[in-house]
């Protein structure tokens, strides 16, 4: 799976919020087809890191490359970059005033300039992929949390991105709905989608990830393939975190 140019590269990336340093010297390289899981305690900078990748947050130091394009202040077509980077949020963030299918069609029509007909077909295709085509004409408020999140995944997929970012996609869900979302994500991984996933779901990490990254205090402390990561963690803080999170 070696591709000459990594899909995403972060070099010595740093970010502050006022006096607080959220990210310190982040170095990360993601190749096409890789599945990365990022874990760590609250406030460790995991969300901030992936939000820098699609520039929902702006990094203060270092460089971020999406393919060959560097993310800078005077980037002319930031939206062209964002087309290729799909994001799924913890709180779903569906457009409440539009039906499900319209949610999926809006960005296609406005950003990729797809025709109404084709956008509708693509939307229905992905709704079937996430197994809820019958909800197409409902409003988000009428769907359960698990269903809404699956719609959110479909919405990001409709843009046919190169890479998908997941920011704690199951953290806001009732326990019984978590697996329906994880199933979709596992499916996606099997199809070869490049993914970076911030999550606490270690079962998912074990079965799907190529690499697990542990962050704490704004730094990447450890990264390794799952067997190594879970079987033989190197750093003391990693061991502490794993012992706390794997108790049940």
């Amino acid at each position: 799976m070696t591709n000459a140019q990594p899909l995403i590269q972060m070099k010595s990336v740093g970010k502050h919020f006022g006096n607080f340093q959220a990210l310190k010297d982040i170095n990360l390289s993601v190749s096409k087809g890789e599945r990365i899981v990022v874990c760590g305690p609250s406030g460790s900078g995991k969300s901030t890191m992936i939000r820098c990748i699609n520039r929902l947050e702006r990094h203060d130091e270092g460089q971020i490359f999406i393919g060959e394009i560097e993310l800078t202040d005077d980037l002319k077509d930031l939206n062209a970059v964002r087309r290729e980077v799909g994001m799924v949020f913890q709180s779903f963030n569906l457009f409440p005033h539009m039906t499900i299918v319209k949610n999926l069609m809006l960005a296609q029509r406005l950003v990729r300039k797809t025709s109404k007909q084709e956008a509708h077909e693509v939307a229905m295709h992905y709704l079937e992929r996430v197994k809820i085509p019958e909800q197409a004409n409902k409003y988000p408020i009428q769907l359960s949390g698990g269903q809404q999140q699956r719609v959110a995944i479909a919405r990001a997929l409709c843009m046919k991105p190169e890479v998908m970012l997941f920011d704690e996609p199951t953290s806001a869900l009732d326990p019984e709905m978590i697996h329906e979302v994880l199933d979709v994500m596992v499916d996606l991984a099997k199809d070869g989608m490049t993914m970076i996933c911030v999550t606490h779901e270690m079962g998912f990490a074990r079965s799907v990830a190529d690499r697990v990254i542990f962050m704490d205090g704004g730094e990447i402390l450890e990264q390794a393939p799952p067997e190594e990561f879970f079987g033989n963690p190197q750093r003391a803080r990693t061991k502490l975190f794993l012992s706390q999170i794997l108790q049940h």
Partner: protein, 231 residues
């Protein structure tokens, strides 16, 4: 002291003749005020200081002074200024109707722009972030995401302002306009029967208020149909 019903029956049709003028003032000022309010609101949230500060100053002055004073400044005061008398807008300012519309428009626009801004600020940030992540441009997010949601959020407060505007049209009677209140005051001056005339007029306004509220409730239900869980 008697309550003269026949007087009311006689006076009511006369007062209702003023309803046309009342509605003209209401609808014209309401519409122009809304357009101006949208403009002022966009200036206020624009982020550039030379747009934002004038907008804030305008809102501050118009909301901080009585509307009657504003009406008098336009009707009595503007003719004192030479550049107004010589401008192409003079026909508007010479006429009490024109002055009333100008004053009411300026006043309502100040309040409505803040109401609209409240709606815009009330839109869930997460929804806008999702739009951003999908690659929607700033103006696309504003048109397709912010505007529909903000409109629904602003509607109750906007409805209240429309009712205020209706009540403010009564002040046009102070600059000789014969809308309903103007006619009523003339009748009272002739008949010395303030209770009969003013109470019946008050009831007319209350009915109009009630009708406007009903209309707004309908619109609120329509705009808010996606907030109801049961289909």
């Amino acid at each position: 002291m008697s309550f003269d019903l026949s007087l009311i029956l006689d006076a009511l049709p006369k007062m209702l003749m003023g309803i046309g003028l009342t509605f003209q003032l209401l609808i014209l000022s309401g519409f122009l005020g809304l357009v101006l309010a949208i403009l002022v609101m966009l200036m206020r949230i624009s982020g550039t200081w030379w747009l934002s500060w004038p907008a804030q100053a305008y809102i501050y002055v118009l909301r901080g002074t009585p509307i009657l004073v504003q009406i008098f400044i336009v009707y009595y005061g503007f003719p004192q200024l030479e550049f107004i008398r010589e401008s192409f807008l003079w026909p508007v300012f010479r006429d009490p109707f024109g002055c009333a519309v100008v004053a009411l428009t300026l006043n309502t626009a100040a309040y409505v722009s803040e109401i609209l801004r409240g709606g815009v600020l009330g839109v869930d940030r997460g929804v806008l972030e999702a739009g951003e992540a999908l690659g929607l441009s700033k103006s696309q997010r504003f048109i397709y995401l912010t505007t529909p949601i903000a409109t629904r959020l602003a509607l109750p407060a906007y409805g209240n302002d429309i009712i205020s505007l209706l009540k403010s049209t009564a002040l046009a009677s102070t600059i000789t306009l014969m809308e309903m209140t103007g006619i009523a005051r003339t009748i009272v001056a002739q008949t010395y029967a303030p209770y009969e005339i003013f109470v019946s007029l008050a009831i007319v306004y209350m009915i109009l208020t009630f009708l406007i509220q009903k209309l707004l409730a309908r619109i609120e239900r329509f705009l808010g149909r996606y907030t109801i869980r049961e289909s």
